[in-house]
């Protein structure tokens, strides 16, 4: 670790350490603006060129009273000079705006980590609200950390004294005082935040000014006081060249579907009923009216999906978004979509269950529901996103398959991807996949269930097309003609055709290529949001000089599986399947390939830590 000693303006001599990465968490009351503070810090490090990964941690849906434990809101930023994949297991710097925030987050602070607390909010009743019996600043709770006890509130008020704001408004700026301190600590410029403040408070320049002053005050406070003996330097990362933006999974999904609509030339129709953590997709898409997006907030999840089926029938790119409980309500309608063979995309942003469960926490436990949660044999392609940015590409892939094969497609994301954000390389339009669409128009020889010999897709014949008047429905249909038909052999034929159509997609998706070793001691098979932790863990093991031959297959397509998966599984002595559920992918792999794979299951409403995966791998290989 390089160390330069620089004379600072104040003449104090300080160490400046060049390090590879850092994790910083802003924590405070819901009212303290921690999300804004975090995003500002994120933008600054992003613009500077670090790789990064962030994770907001809101309180449960309802706002709890100020200062209480359930009211704590946090925002974590992991930034680095090399590629990173997660927001980080534990934090180097914790900013705690009140006792509750301290109590909730302290466990994640590294030994000897930097802890900045706002001493002004450690009064008797602050402690009581946080259910603390003694003051941590006084007992020895905080030994073993580098504690910086700062009168944030007082200092901020002092800095803003001139402006003549009421105290409430002044106190609203104290998060920017803390932000200023962090900028100083990591040698960052405050410019982008200045710009943002100017823009945000166009109408209220005084508030812009106030927040700037507070931020500067925080910065100079560190400069002036003896407080910190070190500052840190984290050089830019070598990322693939290109234009970048920071993006969350839900925002990326929304963009992906708008892109799919544009590439296919189909109007986008979203039928949705709000539910955490999927609602933001509805919110995002409802802003894109200029792209002709139709967003329909339905009376319930059933109306949401059935309206989307109606839209698809009418020739739109029909989709619906939801989470576990809502997904359960859509299963009957999913069966209809399978039977009438219309394109449809259903996004399930998974959350903790069962039932209402842990609405704001993440989980991966809807895979089996996605695969089998319908009456009778109703096969549906299922694909899962692996990172916030990947959600964009998954939306395009789902739309491509739905339209090409005339089939409903389920997209699995989760609360962690939905709210987590990462820098995303913005694609060139020309790099987006084509999504060709063909509506039949020629009545000559038209039959509703006459399939394309290659894709087995039936024709898409939309209302309004002269001469194509026809009837479809959920009752079993005669092959080719689509007329109601109860004949035994026709039924078996149709059941097998619907299955074959989905199976055929395996020919239309890439084979898997394991990361790391192509064969050897251990293969890790995973899907969804565990991608980051597992990849990071494998890098870490490698860095630590692990000598075993380890491969990693992260599946995007969960039905059908890539055609070479079975063969790849056989190349390794052991197979480990880490999942945030009780072993759902594991069960499908074992059934299909009779491979004696082992599961590693965490079902705690939060992602795997890199260290947990590392430890498990070492255990398995030991």
């Amino acid at each position: 670790m390089a160390t330069i000693t620089t004379p600072s303006e104040t003449g104090l001599r300080r160490k400046r350490e060049v390090i590879d990465q850092a994790v910083i968490r802003f924590a405070g009351d819901s009212g303290d603006g921690m999300q804004i503070t975090g995003s500002q810090f994120t933008n600054t490090v992003a613009l500077y060129g670090n790789d990064l990964s962030t994770f907001p941690d809101y309180p449960a849906e309802i706002r709890a009273p100020a200062g209480t434990l359930p009211g704590v809101s946090g925002f974590q930023v992991h930034f680095s000079s090399s590629e990173i994949y997660t927001p980080g297991d534990s934090v180097d710097v914790l900013i705690a705006m009140n006792p509750a925030a301290l109590k909730v987050n302290l466990a994640d602070l590294k030994k000897n980590g930097i802890l900045i607390v706002n001493t002004d909010s450690f009064e008797e009743n602050d402690l009581r609200k946080a259910q603390m019996t003694s003051n941590p600043l006084e007992d020895h709770t905080l030994d073993g950390f580098r504690l910086f006890a700062v009168d944030l509130t007082k200092l901020t008020r002092a800095a803003l004294a001139e402006l003549g704001l009421d105290t409430k408004s002044m106190d609203r700026c104290k998060n920017f005082f803390a932000l200023g301190m962090c900028y100083w600590l990591y040698n960052r410029t405050m410019d982008s935040t200045y710009r943002w403040l100017d823009d945000k408070f166009k109408k209220k320049p005084l508030l812009a000014e106030a927040n700037k002053l507070a931020m500067k005050a925080g910065y100079s406070y560190c400069e002036a006081t003896e407080a910190f003996q070190v500052t840190y330097e984290i050089p830019p990362a070598k990322l693939t060249p290109g234009m970048y933006r920071n993006i969350s999974g839900n925002a990326a999904l929304a963009l992906g579907f708008v892109a799919a609509s544009q590439k296919s030339g189909l109007p986008l129709f979203l039928g949705s009923y709000p539910i955490t953590p999927a609602s933001d997709i509805l919110h995002e898409l409802s802003m894109y009216k200029d792209f002709g997006v139709i967003t329909f907030q339905a009376e319930d999840e059933i109306a949401a999906i059935t309206s989307a089926i109606g839209a698809a029938y009418a020739g739109a790119l029909g989709m619906t978004t939801t989470s576990g409980p809502g997904m359960a309500l859509k299963t009957e309608a999913l069966g209809l979509a399978v039977a009438v063979e219309l394109p449809l995309v259903v996004c399930d942003i998974q959350r903790g269950g069962p039932s209402t469960g842990l609405p704001t926490k993440t989980e991966q436990a809807d895979l089996l529901q996605a695969l089998y949660g319908r009456n009778s044999e109703a096969p549906i392609p299922v694909i899962a996103a692996s990172s916030p940015g990947d959600c964009f590409w998954v939306a395009l892939e789902a739309s491509r398959i739905a339209v090409k094969y005339m089939v409903p497609v389920i997209v699995l994301s989760d609360g962690y991807l939905a709210n987590g954000a990462e820098p995303w390389r913005i694609p060139e339009l020309k790099d987006l996949p084509e999504i060709p669409v063909h509506f039949v128009t020629d009545p000559e020889g038209f039959l509703p269930y006459k399939r394309d010999p290659q894709t087995l897709a039936r024709p898409w014949a939309i209302p309004g097309t002269p001469g194509l008047e026809h009837r479809i429905g959920g009752i079993e249909k005669k092959d080719v003609t689509g007329n109601i038909n109860y004949e035994p052999l026709n039924h078996e034929k149709m059941v097998r055709l619907r299955a074959a159509k989905v199976e055929a997609i395996a020919q239309d998706i890439p084979e898997v290529v394991p990361a790391g070793e192509p064969d050897g001691d251990l293969l890790i098979v995973s899907w969804g949001s565990t991608y980051g932790s597992i990849t990071a863990a494998l890098r870490a093991l490698q860095a630590a000089g692990n000598t075993h031959r380890i491969g990693h297959v992260h599946l995007r397509h969960l039905n059908p599986f890539p055609r070479n998966l079975g063969e790849v599984l056989k190349r390794y002595k052991k197979v480990l399947v880490p999942e945030m559920n009780m072993g759902q992918l594991l069960q499908v792999l074992r059934a299909k390939y009779l491979v004696d794979a082992e599961g590693y299951n965490k079902i705690q409403g939060r992602p795997f830590m890199v260290a947990e995966i590392e430890a498990k791998i070492e255990e398995v290989l030991a």
């Binding site: 933006r245 200029d290 002709g292 109606g310």
Partner: protein, 341 residues
């Protein structure tokens, strides 16, 4: 499209090759025939018609109409149809449903469709029974109904479909009867002409599981005594010799004998366009009062913006303000930064 380029349709043009599978004598046949004739007269290109249904005997309807047809799942037709309409407002979308499909499992979609005033024409075949599942009582069955699932009599108070629809902000509500072909056709035409949601209750006889449910209204002689026709701008007169009428009485209505001082112009003159739904609601409760007849015809028909038009307009307005969306710009929106090679 210019209607003069329209092929001239006959009823036949709306018949399909599918063998009709309703029980012989089922009231659904009469409704099918009326709809087919009316469609031939509507001056709408056949390919613009879409018939969407749920599940039930009544919901088999689309198979027998030579238009676009979608036999969906139980109770969900209004939601599926809403999706179709929002994507293609110019289509003429009709819903065939039953008292169970529309008011039992589908009740919520029905009231929300009406509240939004989606431009759908809903034909609700009310036979006061679950026909397809072989005869359980429905939400419109009379209290005490002995049916498959209620051998000792049902204990549910029925909905009045007209009252419920009005309570759900419906802009068009009407009632007709399977066997009154002319009245039925006129009612269907009125529904077709209405811009928003049209909810039409059609009293239908299920001769297998609930035969004679509407006898008192359909039997030749009884008919005129038990039924009053609502005609916009006309007084409410009924009785074998049109000797009785309905008159205002404070906030209520009363049945009066015409003659000796009481003339038709003293009676309540029907105003289907009355903006206040309380008026149509009052009419819908008449039949529950002693000696009052059951009204048929158009209870309420008022103008209100169609949901699909509002949605299309909002999109146009936003595009007018912002210009058509540019994907490239959208992807680059917000804070971006470049990583140089």
């Amino acid at each position: 499209m210019a209607t003069d380029t329209l092929p001239v349709y006959t009823k036949k043009d709306f018949q399909t090759d599918q063998e009709v599978r309703w029980c012989p004598g089922c009231g659904d046949y009469a409704i099918l025939s009326a709809v087919q004739s009316v469609f031939a007269e509507l001056k709408v290109p056949r390919e613009k018609f879409v018939f969407i249904s749920g599940i039930g005997c009544s919901s088999r309807f689309p198979y027998y109409m030579n238009t676009f047809g979608f036999h969906t799942i139980h109770g969900r037709a209004p939601a599926v149809a809403t999706g179709v309409k929002l994507v293609h407002p110019e289509l003429d979308v009709w819903v065939a449903t039953g008292d169970g499909d529309s008011l039992s499992i589908g009740g919520n979609h029905t009231i929300h469709m009406l509240r939004r005033n989606v431009g759908l024409k809903v034909l609700m075949f009310n036979n006061r029974i679950y026909g397809l599942t072989k005869g359980q009582y429905s939400p419109t069955s009379e209290f005490g109904k002995k049916a498959k699932s209620t051998p000792f009599g049902s204990l549910d108070r029925p909905f009045d479909p007209i009252s419920l629809a009005i309570g759900a902000e419906a802009t068009f509500v009407a009632r007709s009867v399977d066997v009154f072909q002319q009245h039925l056709k006129d009612t269907l035409k009125a529904a077709a002409a209405h811009k928003g949601s049209a909810y039409v209750e059609i009293l239908q006889n299920c001769n297998i599981f609930n035969d004679g449910a509407w006898k008192t209204l359909t039997e030749k002689d009884a008919r005129s005594e038990h039924m009053v026709q609502l005609e916009h701008g006309k007084p409410l007169v009924f009785g074998k010799n049109r000797e009785k009428g309905i008159r205002e009485n404070g906030l209520n209505l009363e049945v009066v004998q015409l003659g000796n001082g009481i003339a038709e112009h003293d009676l309540l003159i029907h105003d289907a366009a009355n903006p206040n739904p309380a008026y149509a609601f009052l009419l819908s409760r008449m039949e529950y009062l002693p000696d009052f007849p059951t009204p048929i015809g158009v209870f309420r028909s008022v103008e209100a913006p169609r949901y699909e038009d509002l949605i299309a307009k909002q999109i146009q307005d936003v595009i007018a303000q912002r210009g058509k969306g540019d994907l490239g710009k959208l992807l680059r929106a917000g804070d971006t930064w470049e990583v140089k090679a």
